[in-house]
C-alpha cells in the first residue's frame, strides 16, 4: 500500500465519519427525548409501584413485609374507593399516604389509574374465585368467644391455640405491640387472604392438620377478627390497670 492510497483511505474514513455526524446518524451517544409514561399504561403502573410501593409490599407485589398486592383474591375483594383512599391518605399506623404535594406524590388521576391498572395487570377474577366474603367487617358482627375457639382450631397449629406463638411456629398474633401497629382491617384481611407468599393460607385453606377444602365461613371470619381485635389493649386502658 502506498502512502498515497493510505492517505486517501484515511481521508475517506474521516469524511464518512463527518457525514455520519452531519446526517445525525443514530450514534450511541445521541440523546433520546425522555418520554413520560402515559397515565394508565403498564410503564406508568410499574413506575408508580417501583417508586412508592416496592419498599414494603415487595418486589413483584409479594414477599415484602407488608400485605402482598399481586394477590388476585385481595384485588378482587377490595372496593375501588377504599383502595384509592388508602393510597391517597394512608391507613393505620404504618401505611403512608401518597397524596400530591408540591414536589412529590401522586395526583388523583394517577391514583385512580394505578388502582385500576393494578387489577388489570395483577388481578385475575378466575383465580380469585367467586363468593368472596365481604372486604370490611360487617358492623356489630363477630362473636369473640366463638372466634377464640375457631382460631384455636384453624390457626392454632402454627400460632398456638392462644395465638401467642409456638416454638418453631409462626409467632404471636396477640402481642400487644403487634396489635397496636396493625389496623382492624389489616387483621381481617390477613384472616381472609392469609400471606400465601409466606405460607399462611387463605380462608379457603388448606389449614395445617385440617382436611383439604375445609375453610372458614364468613361468620367464622367475623368471629376470628373480633377475637383478634379484642386482644388489643389500648395504651389508656393499660395505664388504668
Amino acid at each position: 500500500m502506498t502512502l498515497y492510497s493510505l492517505g486517501f483511505r484515511l481521508l475517506g474514513g474521516t469524511l464518512l465519519a463527518l457525514a455520519m455526524v452531519g446526517c445525525d446518524w443514530h450514534l450511541p451517544g445521541k440523546p433520546i427525548k425522555p418520554v413520560e409514561p402515559k397515565i394508565g399504561s403498564r410503564a406508568h403502573f410499574e413506575r408508580v409501584y417501583f417508586v412508592h410501593c416496592l419498599g414494603c409490599h415487595g418486589p413483584e407485589g409479594r414477599n415484602g413485609p407488608a400485605r402482598p398486592l399481586s394477590d388476585p383474591m385481595y384485588l378482587a375483594s377490595i372496593p375501588n374507593a377504599t383502595f384509592e383512599k388508602v393510597v391517597e391518605e394512608g391507613h393505620g399506623v404504618l401505611m403512608p399516604g401518597f397524596k400530591k404535594t408540591p414536589f412529590s406524590g401522586l395526583t388523583p388521576e394517577e391514583i385512580s389509574a394505578f388502582t385500576t391498572s393494578i387489577k388489570t395487570y395483577w388481578g385475575d377474577p378466575k383465580k380469585a374465585g367467586s363468593d368472596l366474603p365481604p372486604y370490611a367487617q360487617p358492623a356489630g358482627s363477630g362473636n369473640v368467644k366463638t372466634g377464640k375457639s375457631t382460631f384455636a382450631t384453624y390457626c392454632g397449629a402454627c400460632h398456638g391455640d392462644d395465638g401467642a406463638g409456638k416454638e418453631g411456629g409462626a409467632g404471636s398474633v396477640v402481642n400487644n405491640f403487634y396489635l397496636e401497629l396493625v389496623s382492624d382491617q389489616a387483621l381481617r384481611s390477613t384472616v381472609i387472604f392469609g400471606r400465601t407468599d409466606l405460607g399462611c393460607p387463605t380462608y379457603r385453606g388448606p389449614y395445617p392438620g385440617m382436611p383439604e377444602g375445609k375453610g372458614l365461613s364468613p361468620s367464622d371470619i367475623d368471629d376470628v377478627t373480633a377475637w383478634l381485635v379484642s386482644n388489643r389493649v389500648s395504651i389508656s386502658e393499660e395505664a388504668k390497670q
Binding site: 403512608p96 404535594t101 408540591p102 414536589f103
Partner: protein, 203 residues
C-alpha cells in the same frame, strides 16, 4: 555657534518640551483612565454594595388555615428580587411548620452545610440533605452530618389570618437568614404597617 552645537541646543529644547508633553500626556491618560474605571468597576461590583435589605419584602404565603397545626409542608413563593431573565429560578421553596395556632417556624430550603435543598420526611420527622447527608430534627436543630448549625429560619408574621414571610435572600453562615428587627421594612396592608403581626406607625 557651529552647526553641531546648533543641532545640540535644538535637541535639548525638543527633549525638554518632550518631557513636559510626556507628563501632560501621562496625566491626561491617568485622569481619563480613572474616569473610565470608576463606572466600569462600579458596574461590576455594584451587587456587592447594593443595600439588598431595602428590596426585600413580605410575601403572602396564603391563609394560615392551609397549614395544619403540627405539620410541616412545602410552600413556594416568588422571590421579590429578580431580573428580567430569571425564568423559573425565582420559584423559591421553603418549609412551613405550624407549631401552634399562632406560631410558625419557616425554614429555608438550603442546608446549613453548603446550601443543597433539604427534604422533609413526615414519617421520621427529619430533614435530610441529598448532598453530604446533613440531617435536622423537626424544629430545625442539627441532628447529624456535616452542617455546623441548624436550619436557617425566615422572619414571619401573621396579619389578618394570612401568613407572610420575609424573603429575598439565599442564606449562608455570614447571612444567617433572620434580619435584625430594626432593619425590617414593615408589611403594609391597607395603608397600615405591620411588624410581628402588630400594627406599627409607619416612619
Amino acid at each position: 555657534m557651529t552647526d553641531s552645537e546648533h543641532a545640540n541646543s535644538e535637541e535639548t529644547s525638543t527633549s525638554s518640551r518632550r518631557g513636559f508633553m510626556f507628563k501632560i500626556g501621562a496625566g491626561l491618560v491617568g485622569i481619563g483612565g480613572l474616569l473610565i474605571a470608576a463606572p466600569v468597576l462600579g458596574y461590576i461590583f455594584a451587587p456587592a454594595f447594593t443595600n439588598w435589605e431595602k428590596r426585600r419584602a413580605w410575601i403572602d404565603l396564603g391563609e394560615i388555615k392551609q397549614f395544619p397545626v403540627g405539620e410541616t409542608v412545602l410552600a413556594v413563593y416568588k422571590n421579590p428580587i429578580f431580573g428580567p431573565t430569571v425564568g423559573e429560578a425565582n420559584e423559591i421553596p421553603c418549609w412551613v411548620r405550624r407549631t401552634s395556632d399562632s406560631t410558625f417556624q419557616i425554614f429555608y430550603i438550603n442546608c446549613a452545610h453548603l446550601g443543597c435543598p433539604v427534604h422533609w420526611f413526615a414519617e421520621s420527622k427529619l430533614f435530610m440533605c441529598p448532598c453530604h447527608g446533613g440531617v435536622y430534627y423537626e424544629d430545625g436543630s442539627r441532628a447529624s452530618g456535616p452542617p455546623p448549625r441548624g436550619l436557617y429560619e425566615y422572619d414571619w408574621q401573621v396579619v389578618r389570618s394570612k401568613l407572610y414571610v420575609y424573603g429575598g435572600e439565599i442564606p449562608n453562615l455570614q447571612i444567617p437568614g433572620k434580619t435584625p428587627k430594626d432593619d425590617i421594612t414593615p408589611l403594609t396592608v391597607d395603608g397600615v404597617g405591620y411588624l410581628d403581626g402588630k400594627a406599627v406607625k409607619s416612619t
